[in-house]
Amino acid sequence: MAVFEPEAEGIVFDAEETGGDIVGRSPWALAGRRLVRNKLALAALALFVLIVAVSFAAPLYSNYVADTDPFASNISGTVTLNGKTEPVLQQGGGKLGLGETPIGPTWHSKYFLGADNQGRDVAARVLYGGRASLEIGIGSALLASAIALVFALVAGFFGGWTDAIISRVMDLIWAFPLYLLAISLATVLLTAPNGLKIGFIHLSAGSLWVPLLIIGLVYVPYIYRPIRGQVLSLREKEFVEAGIAQGASNFRLIFNEVLPNVASTVIVLMPLMIATTILTESALSYLSIGVQPPQASWGTIIEDGQSLLYTRPWVAIAPGIMIVLTVLALNVLGDGLRDALDPRSKVRVKG
């Protein structure tokens, strides 16, 4: 499981430096210019957008291209290729000539990547799985950032006891090994027969919200730490002190002065964060404690494909390639964003 360590990789922003003026240009404009110049990061952004677009077009693909329901098993179905009709599940394709083997990649619109052992179209499932993986990855990253931001603003701004208590609690959660926390939460939530009821919120065990919430919650301290540090340093800055001196309310100061300034940190952390949450989701799903059937995600498809690994490797390979591409794109983009906003790279090589 990927370890997300913003501090270790030096993504901690000093408010003073990011706020500094560089030869008359605003830091944001300069960052934008650098990002545009960074072709690799732009390519990564394009790739990510493409993957998102394709994944969200999954229903279109299964309705109009593959013409199949990727969630219904199709054990006795047939497919017509080049005029020949073949069964989707073929008898005796295994090493010993026993059992059933799903059809391999046809490289045609139907069963482009072959079928899994329920006879379902793998290509369509990979797209649907991508949608779920991306929803959970992006959703949990946003959730973690939002919670962390609220706590960090409160802790960093009020300081004193508020800060001490919140930060200690975060440290405690941080000390709890991340995947163990996720496993504990997941097992308990998934074994609850009637789902989870908290007040008016009702979650059934098969809902995508369960892995989203779990992953979102466990990553809160990882974002909380760098943001709190930045809020603390912002609080000492002249413009905030000036606001206090003018009698501005805490609430107003947080929203008008501090929040816009921590935005850059959150933005830079976001792609790296989504990369991490997507990897976490796939791991949990692979361990069967993430996304639950009948829903599919890249992780669950890899798990489905494990038993077919030596006969129909594409079932497991294809979703893995999607994960690698997505996470790589996000990591490259995150790196590019960080470089663009990094005050330490004021002087850089030309050409």
């Binding site: 990927a2 360590e5 163990l180 796939s282 692979y286 361990l287 890899i302 893995g320 996470v327 990591n331």
Partner: protein, 322 residues
């Protein structure tokens, strides 16, 4: 230094306590969840549920329940898996050597290669090798380890197994070191490599960033002004201070892996370590085993993180003598 150690140990005790409470709350006090049913595994009999209710005092107050859980876990150590009807704790201790073998080997590989790549990238800054190495590292941290394991298996066990390259690769599994060291090595080499890929990428990037940051420190300029050779500046000054972060990260990651973080690798390669044990109990929803591995792993990791801080203090006199 003594004050530092005492402070650190007190914090450790607090963390241990908090973790046990958190685990307790997750397993025994999640709203809408009946812990007895959950503990009992799939399709439990009425007696089993009744005996669990009694043993864990599920009809009594929360603090009593917490006490009973801790008693079963650490004093009597008689938790029973309701799936396999075996005692949980001996199962864990017998699985531990497998996990240790896996993690030790991978750690050696990842230390060597990440230092090599990190230093090379930092030294070769300005050439094409630096971005090239960093892209490789980025790819390394973008690959899900379980998927990489499957690809490795596909190649070494199936597709190229009959070629001269991988015909020596034994079937998946584990042979104890004491029984056949050579077999032990052959069965572990691919798991080691697979597990270390992510960490090589991550550590190489961290080390490179640290080296470059340290490079701009005033004391590195002083070292050059002293007339030291570039090699000495690199190894005795830049690398030495950069290793502080490296070592502390390493301690924690190592602990997390030994504590069960190598779960995915163990599952893919069929290595019967603590991780595979956890996984099997996950698929069987065998809560006593999950709970115990979680608590034991968490304790181990907390202990290790305290150790790491002590090592950190030893490496960095600013912390030690503060």
């Amino acid at each position: 230094m003594l004050a530092f150690i005492v402070r650190r140990l007190l914090w450790m005790a607090l963390v241990l306590f908090a973790i046990s409470v958190l685990v307790f709350l997750i397993f025994f006090a999640t709203p809408g969840v009946d812990p007895a049913r959950q503990m009992a595994g799939r399709n439990p009999s009425a007696e089993t549920i009744k005996s669990i209710k009694h043993e864990f005092g599920l009809d009594r107050s929360l603090p009593v329940r917490y006490g009973l859980m801790m008693k079963h876990m650490f004093i009597t150590r008689d938790l029973i898996s309701y799936g396999s009807h075996t005692r949980v704790i001996p199962e864990i201790t017998s699985a531990a050597p497998v996990t240790l073998s896996l993690v030790f080997g991978a750690a050696i590989i990842w230390i060597v290669f990440s230092i090599l790549f990190g230093v090379a990238a930092a030294v070769l800054r300005g050439t094409v090798f630096d971005p090239l190495l960093m892209i490789l590292a980025l790819i390394g941290i973008s690959i899900p380890v379980f998927w990489l394991g499957e690809v490795v298996n596909l190649i070494t066990q199936s597709r190229l197994h009959d070629s001269f390259l991988f015909s020596w690769v034994p079937p998946l599994g584990y042979t104890p070191l004491t029984q056949d060291p050579f077999m032990w090595f052959k069965q572990l080499i691919f798991p080691w490599l697979t597990l270390s890929v992510l960490y090589i990428g991550f550590y190489a990037r961290v080390l490179r960033a640290n080296l470059i940051e340290t490079e701009s420190e005033d004391y590195i300029r002083t070292a050059r002004a002293k007339g030291l050779s570039e090699r000495r500046v690199l190894f005795r000054h830049t690398l030495r201070t950069s290793m502080i972060t490296f070592v502390s990260l390493f301690g924690l990651d190592f602990a997390v892996l030994v504590g069960g973080g190598a779960l995915l690798t163990e599952v893919v390669f069929g290595l019967p370590g603590v991780g595979l044990l956890t996984f099997n109990s996950l698929t069987a929803l065998d809560l006593p085993v999950i709970m115990t591995t979680v608590i034991y792993a968490a304790f181990f990791i907390t202990l290790a993180s305290a150790l790491v801080d002590l090592v950190y203090a030893w490496l960095d006199p600013r912390v030690r003598l503060a």
